[in-house]
């Protein structure tokens, strides 16, 4: 059991012990899209792991020893090695656990996935911006920008003529961008994929993937979390437990 539904640890909690051999630990938060990338890769590759959820609105002091920036996700190995930054954790897992490779072996195909990832990079801050904006006017500007970025991704997919961003099977790049598309419905941003048929097909195909569906969060739960999170409630990270 991955323990992904465990209550988060907050200020005053005891630091966890060392990671047992044969296991890798991910410090996470159930609703964090960046940490979801790492959990998707761990699950897709069948890597034995344990999850420790962190209360991001009430961080334990010991967590800053794992990552001075206090952000999730962080990987910790049984040798005490720490890896931060979601994309770096995902690539580390793909290299350290050679079964079921998610990144292509061909150097050019791998570079292509990284170029698509760069193309995608404006989407997360735009969505965060939309989530935080109360003002309808500022929101519509951000939504317009988001539509533009999403159109770029549609162009990539149509140019490739494949279902997924890396070809006809699901691969690393699909997992890296999925978490933000999963949240569109809960954020009432489905309109942003109105004019992007290839992306809509991709989203439907992603939802059928066993790894993606095993980690899917329903709309109501997301919305419950977002409400509490925007109010800075220390209960947000454990919503639904």
């Amino acid at each position: 059991m991955s323990g992904g539904s465990a209550r988060s640890l907050g200020k005053g909690s005891a630091p966890p012990g060392p990671v047992p051999e044969g296991l890798i630990r991910v410090y996470s938060m159930r609703f964090c899209p960046y940490a979801q990338r790492t959990r998707l890769v761990l699950t897709a590759k069948g890597i034995r792991h344990e999850v420790i959820n962190i209360n991001l609105k009430n961080k334990p002091e010991w967590f800053f020893k794992k990552n001075p920036s206090g952000l999730v996700p962080v990987l910790e190995t049984s040798q005490g090695q720490l890896i931060c930054e979601s994309a770096i954790t995902c690539e580390y897992l793909d290299e350290a656990y050679p079964e079921k490779k998610l990144l292509p072996g061909d150097p050019y195909e791998k570079a292509c996935q990284k170029m698509v990832f760069e193309s995608f990079s404006k989407v997360p801050p735009l969505i965060s911006g939309i989530v935080r904006t109360q003002n309808k006017e500022d929101c519509s500007g951000l939504k317009e920008e988001l539509r533009k970025e999403i159109t770029k991704l549609e162009e990539v997919l149509t140019a490739k003529k494949t279902t997924f961003f890396g070809g006809n099977s699901l691969s690393m790049i699909d997992y890296l961008i999925w978490p933000w598309f999963e949240r569109l419905e809960a954020l009432e941003l489905n309109e942003c994929v109105d004019h992007t048929p290839a992306l809509k097909l991709w989203m439907a195909a992603m939802k059928k993937d066993p790894t993606v569906s095993s980690l899917l969060t329903d709309v109501k739960t997301f919305q419950g979390f977002f409400n509490l999170y925007l109010q800075n409630s220390p209960e947000a990270c454990d919503y639904g437990l």
Binding site: Q81, I83, Y92
Partner: protein, 244 residues
């Protein structure tokens, strides 16, 4: 003289033909720090290559078929495959070409180098802002303070690791990825930003002894000549120092 000492191509220029087999082409500009990263890797790995310099103030129309926004560096191989973003280009070269590996083999050590790169991300923007401020006669004390703080973070890493280079006792990819901005500190007028970071100064000295770094060093006067023309918006800036 480096292998990229050729005049830039600008608007109205004829698009270059396909890349011959056995070599890789780099679209570049002699003074661009991002392209400098890729040139360092090409040289360090001994990769046969040709360089086409682009006039960044007068970009050839055909260049937008190589990069959607006309940026450099871009790699083009004989299969017409295009790779851009300097870090992606450098990693591609390390993966695609045999021989000396610049990234470590160990997955954790590779991840460490990528985490170090994240630590560096504010430096290019800050050094450029300092340069622009100084050239426009504006005060840049705040910017220099911010830059010194970034350098302190890097100094801490070297102190903690107790190694000469950022990847260990030998030069590796991360050092080459950082280097172009440190080479420019003096000519940008901000060399004093490393006054309080001795380990970083030792690293700079060690880097200057590396044969690859050495072979691509641009002399100060040539750089100043470029900067003077660049800040006068002279499109001839990019070819400054070429003999013909």
């Amino acid at each position: 003289m480096t292998d990229d000492a050729t005049r830039t191509l600008g608007k109205g220029s004829i698009p270059p033909g396909p890349v011959p087999e056995g070599i890789i082409r780099l679209y570049s500009m002699r003074f661009c720090p991002y392209a400098h990263r890729t040139r360092l890797v090409l040289r360090a790995k001994g990769i046969r290559h040709e360089v086409i310099n682009i006039n960044l103030r007068n970009k050839p129309e055909w260049y937008f078929t190589k990069h959607p926004f006309g940026q450099i560096p871009v790699l083009e191989n004989s299969k017409c495959q295009l790779i851009y973003e300097s870090v992606i280009a450098c990693e591609y070269l390390d993966d695609a070409y045999p021989g000396r590996k610049l990234y470590p083999y160990d997955p954790y050590e590779r991840a460490r180098q990528k985490m170090l790169l994240e630590l560096f991300y504010k430096v290019p923007h800050l050094t450029k802002e300092c340069l622009v401020a100084l050239r426009c006669g504006r005060d840049c004390a705040d910017l220099k303070l911010a830059l010194r703080q970034e350098f302190c973070n890097l100094e801490e890493i070297l102190g903690y690791q107790n190694t000469v280079f950022f990847g260990g006792d030998c030069i590796s990819m991360i050092d080459y990825l950082f280097w172009p901005w440190f080479e420019r500190l003096d000519v940008y007028g901000i060399a004093d930003c490393v006054n309080h970071t001795p380990a970083l100064r030792l690293w700079i000295a060690a880097m200057k002894q590396d044969p690859t770094v050495c072979s691509l060093l641009t002399d100060k006067n040539t750089f100043l000549g470029f900067l003077n023309l660049y800040f006068q918006n002279n499109p001839g800036a990019f070819d400054y120092g070429l003999s013909c």
